[in-house]
């Protein structure tokens, strides 16, 4: 039978969670409420004596100093509404799992006693609420209907003596394990129907290829030998759908595109990935020659570069957009712990040393009606933030920086970019660590979590728009502690050389992890019956493609298997042999003795023909903005500082541990009061050396409204200049490209597909041009191509978004520079030229315009500036350096001043510029490749000499001293014509900057 243990705070003690929920009910739902109290509920599904339950309740489950408990009774009284929220059957319940383990330790393991613990939480609300409000609180704030169930009980229906009856969310419906066979020898309509009904996301053409494969007499002959017929099994169909999904195969990036530039020129691009991305990296590496520090690019789960002679760095950024739209907390948590496994499963396995996260949301103060199935942006914001907090903090990986981007078009799908870096010894036991090897005969071993129905169809689901039938099983909840235990164990196993190869289980689960690694040996023989399950009743195809979290797949030499399994058992990590790698050329999957999938490796991986696509570019003309300059420039600057894309993100940053592992050098918040916005993060991954890593991001989706070529150029420039501002050098800087697009394939659903594809082509052309110009090679990347929402007649597409992330080496972290003004009397410089290119700027957006001319990057000049600045920083000549991005020079000056707690006197007439005759344009133009730097007068001469270059008095780029830092804490500006433009206290400027997201 099931028992309930309820735990609550003693009278008079603050219930911090209750207080937080109360605040959220007020702020998010605008329902006034008097009080919220919480009660934690453990439902124990098993037979226990009263005495045992008391031991458990008084021991691990409650804290006697502040809490009390009741067993099989109720704590709740003095409320108006009670809402209890628990998980639906099969949803990962991390707390329940921990409680079960604690009970086993406390009471001892009995061989004939199996039990489970399920958690739920009661919210006791006080206030004058009707049922409608209570239901709204439950549905719109406390519970996510997709993964949770809730009950709403009014006071008058409550009997404290009886309390709530125990409810066990058991997974039921354990019908017979079966393998279905599907006849693909059917007409076109029926083929399409099969793909749609099973969420396969395969096109008719792809379905026809499968049909034709099975028609091949040789294929039929080999299938007969393993007991399969001419019909495809569900396991084979699902596995092919995963492997051939847009998510795994990047069909658009690998397709053949005929691109029409709209000006009479047409060209054929054979794979954007090969030509623009891999192609540029190859050129850059060739140019570096013997100095090439790239070790592994585009072939593994993450890119690998050299850190120093003895260590290599690994970096990867992923997105988890679709799941985060449905379940922001679970989706984002899975996003971060999922991307953690990429560097961890790269080469021979890397220790994880940092996270960097970028989120794109609709404005949290969104007031319009929400389309069906869409959660309010504020809820998505809080849920994603919290999911990444739990995933990152609990894994012990510092979140060293990131950013938030806001645009209404992220309402349909938020973008949740999670990046993780790792470090590994360059060699282990004499072998290089950045490569992978598997020999026939090696055992297939899975470690970590168990397999459930969670995350089925994750890969195919994210290869489609969010629609009415998007499957709920696609959502998973990660468990960072299970993963931490596994990574602790695997790092030990790695250093002992106990495995041959490691990879992660992400999209597509075992079908991808084993399917992909089996290419190294030439085949596999996998027995799904051996796989440990969370609960019985999974069919073989579900085991094969489930994306249940916290799992790695390894190849292990049979002579080392005992040592490996022994260490796993000792460290309390589950590890199971699931078969072996072969050289049979076949992807062979069994369930016991029965074959459930038998596919040629070559067909599985190379059977998909290239997609053929058309792209047509046509620049869009918008009305040219007409509005007068602001009467009060100080007010205008404050308005700019308060904008969502510019304002302080401190409330989010502080909730992420950015210092764990002890190597923090430049934190996300810097300056006199530890609250200024730093440009890039610097960490020391090895505590006994001053060599460090610089990490930065660039993202500017607004410019896509004008031209994605410049959007991409600006994103690349932003990431690089952030890194340069902090002390990185172009000599040792690598990039990651992460494209999030709206569906660019022309179809009935997407009538403007050719234009969107042209946008993609143009962004890639910029990627090619600018990575080569800067000599910053991409080492890995990712794309997510279906970020659309389409339900009923509403379609929302995200603006095309490229996140460009860079990782670089800084030879000595003590040379790093932060953005805050340091001393009164220092000279303020602007480096780089300001131009009249206001299009898609925050200033135009504030005034209700987009315009037509967005910033363009002059990489040739910028590169010279960056090289000179790197030199000046390395010589210790620069007191502060801050990049100019959203909000331009005005915002950068204000931030530099108030972060340093100092004032500034600036003469805008001295700013190097071209074509600007308005102070507002000069202040808020977002021209790229610019910095605000401050320099002590003692260093002025040397600094200017370095910037001018050695051989000439003419600088290869524009720069000028425009004022000085003052002890008086005002930002004072003189305008272009010499009159006083504004004088604002830095405290007020900072307050404007801080207020927007200070919830």
């Amino acid at each position: 039978m099931a028992h309930r243990i309820e735990i609550g705070f003693k009278e008079g003690l603050r219930d911090a969670l209750g207080a937080k929920i109360k605040r959220r009910i007020n702020e998010h739902l605008h329902i006034p409420i008097a009080d919220v109290k919480t009660v934690d509920v453990y439902t124990i599904d098993g037979s226990f004596s009263r005495e045992e339950l008391v031991k458990v309740a008084a021991g691990p489950l409650s804290d006697a100093v502040i809490q009390h408990y009741v067993i099989d009774g109720a704590l709740a009284d003095n409320f108006d509404w009670l809402i209890e929220v628990g998980f639906r059957p099969g949803v990962t319940d991390n707390v329940g799992k921990t409680a079960r383990e604690a009970m086993e330790l406390l009471l001892g393991r009995l061989p004939d006693r199996t039990f489970n613990v399920h958690t739920s939480r009661q919210y006791l609300l006080r206030g004058t609420l009707g049922r409608k409000e209570a239901e709204r609180i439950a549905a719109n704030l406390l519970a996510n209907d997709l993964i949770e169930r809730y009950e709403v009980v009014p006071r008058q229906d409550w009997d404290t003596g009886k309390g709530m009856p125990p409810f066990v969310p058991r997974v039921t419906g354990t019908e017979q394990i079966r393998t279905e066979e599907i006849d693909l020898d059917v007409d076109e309509e029926a083929l399409s129907a099969i793909s749609n009904e099973r969420v396969l996301a395969l096109t008719l053409e792809e379905m026809q290829i499968l049909r034709d494969y099975l028609r091949d007499p040789a294929v039929r002959e080999e299938r007969k030998k393993v007991g399969l017929g001419a019909r495809i099994t569900d396991g084979e169909l699902e596995c092919l759908a995963q492997t051939w999904s847009e998510h795994c195969k990047h069909k658009i990036f690998n397709g053949v595109i005929i691109y029409d530039d709209g000006a009479g020129h047409t060209e054929t691009i054979n794979s954007l990935f090969k030509t623009c991305i891999k192609g540029s990296t190859q050129q850059i590496r060739e140019k570096m020659g013997a100095k090439d520090w790239c070790l592994s690019v585009f072939v593994d789960n993450a890119g690998v570069i050299r850190f120093n002679e003895n260590y290599s760095l690994v970096f990867k950024v992923e997105t988890h957009n679709s799941p985060s739209a449905l379940d922001p907390y679970g989706g984002a948590l899975t996003g971060i712990v999922g991307v953690n496994r990429d560097p961890f499963g790269t080469g021979y396995g890397a220790k994880l040393i940092f996270n960097t996260d970028v989120f794109c949301f609709a404005p949290p103060d969104y007031v319009k009606a929400l389309p069906k199935r869409i959660l309010h942006p504020r809820r998505i914001y809080e849920g994603v933030r919290e999911g990444v907090e739990h995933g990152g903090n609990k894994s012990g990986i510092p979140t060293i920086n990131g950013c938030l981007v806001f645009d209404e078009r992220y309402l349909g799908k938020p973008l949740v970019y999670c990046g993780t870096g790792g470090i590994m010894p360059a060699t282990i036991q004499g072998k290089p660590t950045h490569t992978k090897e598997i020999l026939p005969g090696d055992l297939i071993v899975m470690t970590g979590g168990r397999i459930g129905k969670d995350g089925i169809h994750g890969a195919t689901f994210s290869s489609e728009e969010l629609h009415e039938g998007s499957p709920v099983t696609a959502v998973q909840i990660g468990d960072p502690i299970t993963q931490k235990k596994m990574t602790d164990f695997l790092l030990k196993a790695r250093d002992l050389g106990l495995y041959r190869c490691i990879t992660d289980n992400g999209a597509g689960g075992l079908s991808s992890s084993v399917g992909e690694t089996a290419q190294l040996s030439g085949g596999c023989d996998l027995d799904l019956k051996c796989a440990p399950l969370k609960y019985p009743g999974l069919n073989p195809w579900e085991i094969l493609i489930s994306e249940s979290q916290e799992r790695m797949t390894l190849a292990i030499d049979p002579v080392r298997i005992d040592a490996f399994l022994g260490l796993a058992a000792k460290m309390d990590v589950e590890a199971t042999v699931l078969g072996k790698y072969t050289d049979s050329g076949m992807f062979h999957v069994r369930y016991g003795n029965r074959t459930v999938a038998y596919l040629r490796m070559d067909f599985l991986h190379n059977g998909l023909p290239q997609m053929n696509l058309r792209a047509r570019w046509s620049p869009r003309r918008r009305e040219e903005p007409v509005f007068p300059p602001p009467a009060n420039m100080g007010q205008a600057l404050k308005q700019m500082l308060s904008r969502l894309n510019i304002c302080s993100k401190e409330s989010v940053i502080r909730q992420y541990d950015h210092e764990v592992q002890g190597g923090s050098v430049v934190k996300p918040l810097v300056g006199a009061m530890n609250d200024g916005p730093s440009d890039a993060a610097v960490i020391r991954p090895l505590l006994d050396t001053y060599e460090g890593i610089v990490v930065a991001n660039g993202i500017c989706p607004r410019y896509s409204d004008i031209d994605t070529y410049h959007m991409a150029a600006c994103a690349i420039d932003e990431a690089i200049r952030n890194a340069i501002a902090t002390g990185a050098s172009l000599d040792h800087l690598a990039g990651l490209d992460n494209f999030c697009w709206c569906d660019p394939v022309q179809s009935e659903k997407t009538p403007d597909g050719e234009y969107k594809l042209a946008q993609l082509v143009r962004a890639n052309m910029a990627l090619f041009d600018y990575t080569i110009a800067y000599g910053v090679p991409c080492i890995s990347g990712k794309d997510s191509m279906k970020n659309d929402y389409a339900i009923d007649n509403t379609k929302i597409s995200i603006p095309p978004t490229l996140l460009f992330s860079v990782i670089g080496k800084i030879a000595d972290v003590r040379q790093a520079v932060t953005m805050d003004a340091k001393r009164a009397g220092d000279i303020v410089y602007v480096l780089g030229e300001t131009r009249n290119e206001m299009g898609a700027s925050e200033w135009y957006a504030l005034n209700g315009y987009v315009g037509n001319t967005c910033p363009k990057v002059d990489a040739e000049k910028a590169k010279k500036l960056y090289e000179a600045l790197t030199k000046a920083i390395a010589k210790g000549l620069v007191a502060s350096c801050h990049d100019c991005s959203d909000g331009g020079l005005g915002v950068a000056l204000a931030e530099t001043a108030f972060a340093g707690g100092l004032g500034m006197q600036i003469d805008l007439a001295k700013v190097p510029q071209e074509g600007i005759d308005r102070d507002d344009y000069l202040l808020f133009s977002e021209s790229q490749s610019r910095f605000v730097a401050t320099v002590s007068p003692d260093h002025q001469k040397e600094f200017e000499e370095i910037l001018r270059g050695e051989d000439s008095n003419l600088s290869p780029f524009a720069f000028a001293a425009i004022g000085e830092i003052t002890a008086a804490s005002f930002l004072s500006l003189r305008g272009i014509t010499g009159e006083i433009l504004m004088r604002e206290s830095i405290a007020e400027l900072k307050a404007s900057w801080q207020k927007t997201l200070s919830f």
Binding site: P60, D63, L105, K570, M571, Q661, L687, V813
Partner: protein, 280 residues
Amino acid sequence: MTKANINKIVKSIVITGNGTNCEMEMAHACRLAGSDVVDIVHISELLHGEKRLDDYHFLNLPGGFLDGDDLGSAKAGANRILHATIRGTDEKLYDQMTRFIRDGKLILGVCNGFQLLVKLGLLPGFNGDYLTQTVTLSFNDSGRFEDRWVHLAVNPESPCIYTRGMKDIYLPVRHGEGKFIVRDPSVLARLHKEHRIVVQYSGADDGTPTMTYPANPNGAIDAIAGICNDTGRIFGLMPHPEAYLHRTNHPRWTREDLPEMGMGLIVFQNAVDFIRRQVI
């Protein structure tokens, strides 16, 4: 090894596993502080009897999220230490800990390690009772996890070995459950009377304890950030001394003149020096 051979060799152990995550920098701190042997030991090695606490002088319990803090911070972790048996024996890990204390050795718990000490009942450990929990660390008043640097005022009258010679310390807190709470007023009175309150959250300038957020980041009563046992050899605190070992860890190192060595390192140096002088 004979007694003579181990003479003056300071041995430190840093326990990890099940969600602990500050073991690397804590071990680094011990090394920088001069500990001759520093072992990061996974708890499974202790539970399998491969390593024993008895072989060390300085036990470090680092920060992290033991078992995800799923049942309340360090609750499941404390349950393991109390009830898991060391393989092939009847001994619990807790037994080794109490023996370690009896032998006059040093224990430092930081953040999750402090939560663990408190929930085991090892701190404050009145009257030699190391099993009854009298204080706790609960959810921050803000209801959120926070990473921010705080000023700590050091109690000069405290018997704490680790803070000798220090007046104040500047360190980061990184926790969601750091609010110090006592079972009843008598516990608090006794903590004060016996000078067991080692460090208190204080304002930046005046060094007086504060209840004002964010200087007091969690609402801890009487601004308590760390306490010790009667001998001053067991010390637990929420802020992270191992996070400030070098000046570049300081949030304002690019704008202030700071000594090369971080303030947090002094805590470890005091411990190692004391062991060399008085424990071995």
